[in-house]
């Protein structure tokens, strides 16, 4: 509880006097040169590329000409059923994945934060381990764990009289959600657990004095108080789900249920490397980036201002 005047003085003291733009530029130029080369320039190049298309005259004789088509590529991409189907799948994936991940992470974090939990450090490490596994290998291991004949899970279910094909057209999407939850739950557990540990103890003790049990405290006191941390986790989860590429790409070699244009990222990859249609690949990437920006804005607007503060 510092007074405003003291806070202001602290704020002034935070930076070093006599250091202006010239000193700062020495430190900032390397990063911003890279930022311009690896993020801004590619996007500008892709936007300009996406406004042109290769046109072949008549029967394809006489070579191709490059023509300005305005937003024509965007219209074509957005009216392509395989692309919009991919967005539909991505939407369903998000709807399943985001709540599942946050629920699993929050429950595990609240359990870890319970006063009766033993061996908290060991549990944190075990829960976090999958995050040390590269996405490709996580997808590979789970692909084997879904494959009948190899998988102990499928075998155990079969011996219990349940026949499930995790890689079928109906189940492959939830199976993919499971892989992502496995990879990312531990990461989010640590974030939420850290936030829980930072809560002022006197509030929790006041709740205990008022007769609230552990479960009641967890749901009605702790959860609302860590909402900003949940907001940050939500933001990164949403951004992460739009990136979906590695898991379906790997699973596409294990099942025919995953096509080469299964999600927007795979559609763009397929456009660039199978169909050699670079302008459409560029247009698809720009659509995806715009959507990511929009979703980030929506999530930060409605949850927390932690990151942008």
């Amino acid at each position: 509880m510092t007074t405003p005047a003291f806070a202001k003085r602290r704020a002034l003291r935070k930076t070093i006097p006599g250091t202006g733009g010239r000193a700062a530029s020495v430190f900032l130029i390397p990063f911003f040169v890279l930022f311009a080369v690896t993020m801004i320039a590619p996007v500008i190049y892709a936007v300009s590329l996406s406004l042109f298309a290769e046109k072949r005259s008549g029967l394809g004789f006489g070579g191709a000409t490059i023509e300005f088509v305005g937003l024509g590529n965007y219209v074509q991409v957005l009216s392509d059923r395989t692309f919009t189907d991919g967005f539909g799948r991505l939407a369903v994936y998000c709807i399943l994945y985001v709540p599942a991940l946050l629920a699993v992470a929050l429950v595990l974090a609240l359990l870890l934060d319970a006063t009766v939990a033993y061996a908290k450090r060991a549990f944190q490490l075990l829960l976090f381990l999958p995050h040390a596994v590269p996405g490709v290998i996580a997808a590979l291991v789970w692909a084997y764990l879904y494959t009948p004949g190899v998988s102990p899970i499928v075998k155990a279910l079969e011996s219990g009289g349940i026949a499930i094909d995790f890689l079928s057209a109906q189940l492959v999407l939830p199976s993919m959600v499971n892989i992502a939850v496995w990879e990312w739950a531990g990461y989010n557990v640590i974030i939420l657990f850290t936030a829980l540990q930072a809560l002022p103890r006197e509030i929790l003790e006041a709740a205990r004095v008022d007769g609230a049990g552990e479960i009641r405290t967890a749901l009605s006191i702790k959860t609302p108080l860590v909402w900003p941390a949940i907001g940050v986790a939500l933001l990164f989860t949403v951004i992460g789900s739009l990136q979906l590429f590695t898991e379906p790409k790997i699973l596409s070699s294990a099942t025919t249920a995953v096509t080469s244009t299964w999600v927007p990222n795979m559609w763009a990859y397929d456009a660039a490397f199978t169909r050699n249609d670079l302008p459409q690949a560029a247009a698809a990437s720009i659509i995806l980036a715009l959507l990511a920006g929009l979703m980030s804005w929506v999530v930060t607007r409605f949850t927390s201002k932690e990151l942008t503060r």
């Binding site: 006097p17 590329l49 359990l111 075990l126 590269p134 640590i190």
Partner: protein, 304 residues
């Protein structure tokens, strides 16, 4: 703050006045909740660890045992699998691992240092255009990598840089999230007064950063470098798109290439599993040893 200090620190120790509601969890209820909470945690830990255990057991089996025997028993082919893995195609797997180490190592150290400098400047310096520049960094954090990978490929292709190590290395040097973390660490670990003292002693901004700031920011730098190392090691789409030459692949892309051949030749399955096993062991060891740092990074990223 004083009101808090005056209150008894533990209410459990305070006597309960007669007639007041008694705390609920006592005796049998408490034992039940100990079993419940820890049981659920064990269940969560089992879910996280079993797939990895499966991989450990699978790495000891030949293709026949993989498809027939019990999943959680040891086979007898571990050494044979490792030998096969290391000899396949003239030892290309070691080459892939070395490439992963090169991309992730250089990206973590050089990229981490570049981010550290930028985060330090955003925290400690006052200059025109600071707010819009920092806003640009945050936009960079929020744009998913994969949305810029194909544009990056298109640009690199027009510059003739695809299929070189630079096409994989240069993009990993730029990490806006690391700049954000560096700013948080600089604010937390490094009092401006210390740098002021250096300035009074006549040190310029570069010298005071290198001699005063940097030593105090070492834990922050290790944290940032660790996260970048893992991020680059795990990266799949960028190298997959940028590289055609097998010799330049990192291990993730190499293993995925082998996996795509399993359907024609099931023998590749043992290679894929052995390769997966070998490429996660160093990461798991690194995470166990560097717990202090990733915990610090995760908490800095969430709650300031």
């Amino acid at each position: 703050m004083t009101a808090v200090i005056d209150r008894p620190t533990s209410h459990r120790a305070a006597p309960i006045p007669p007639g007041a509601p008694r705390p609920r969890r006592l005796g049998g209820g408490r034992a039940l909740s100990i079993v419940g909470v820890n049981g659920l945690l064990v269940l969560g830990a089992v879910y996280m660890v079993l797939p990895l255990l499966w991989l450990v057991f699978a790495a000891t089996k030949d293709a026949g045992a993989l498809y027939s025997g019990d999943a959680f028993t040891f086979g007898s082919h571990f050494l044979a699998n490792m030998q096969h893995l290391l000899q396949k195609d003239g030892g290309i797997f070691l080459r892939w691992l070395a490439n992963s180490v090169l991309y992730a190592g250089v990206g973590a150290i050089v990229g981490g240092f570049i981010s550290l400098m930028a985060g330090y400047a955003f925290d400690k310096f006052e200059f025109r255009g600071k707010r819009p520049l920092y806003a640009a960094v945050l936009v960079g954090v929020l744009i998913p990598n994969t949305a810029t990978v194909i544009p990056l490929y298109l640009l690199a292709a027009s510059a003739g840089l695809t299929n070189t190590i630079w096409a994989v290395l240069i993009p990993t040097l730029c990490n806006p999230f690391s700049v954000y973390l560096a700013r948080v660490f600089s604010a937390g670990y490094l009092p401006a007064e210390t740098l002021e003292a250096a300035r009074v002693d006549g040190a310029g901004p570069v010298r005071s950063f290198l001699q005063v700031g940097l030593p105090m920011l070492v834990p922050g730098f290790v944290t940032i470098a660790l996260f970048q190392f893992v991020g680059i090691w795990n990266n799949f789409m960028l190298p997959l798109i940028m590289l055609q030459n097998r010799e330049l692949f990192p291990s993730s892309v190499g293993i995925a290439l082998w996996q795509s051949q399993v359907q024609q030749n099931p023998e590749f399955a043992t290679l894929v599993i052995a390769g997966s096993f070998v490429s996660i062991v160093p990461l798991v060891i690194a995470f166990v040893m560097l717990q202090r740092f990733w915990r610090a990074g995760l908490s800095a990223g969430s709650v300031k």
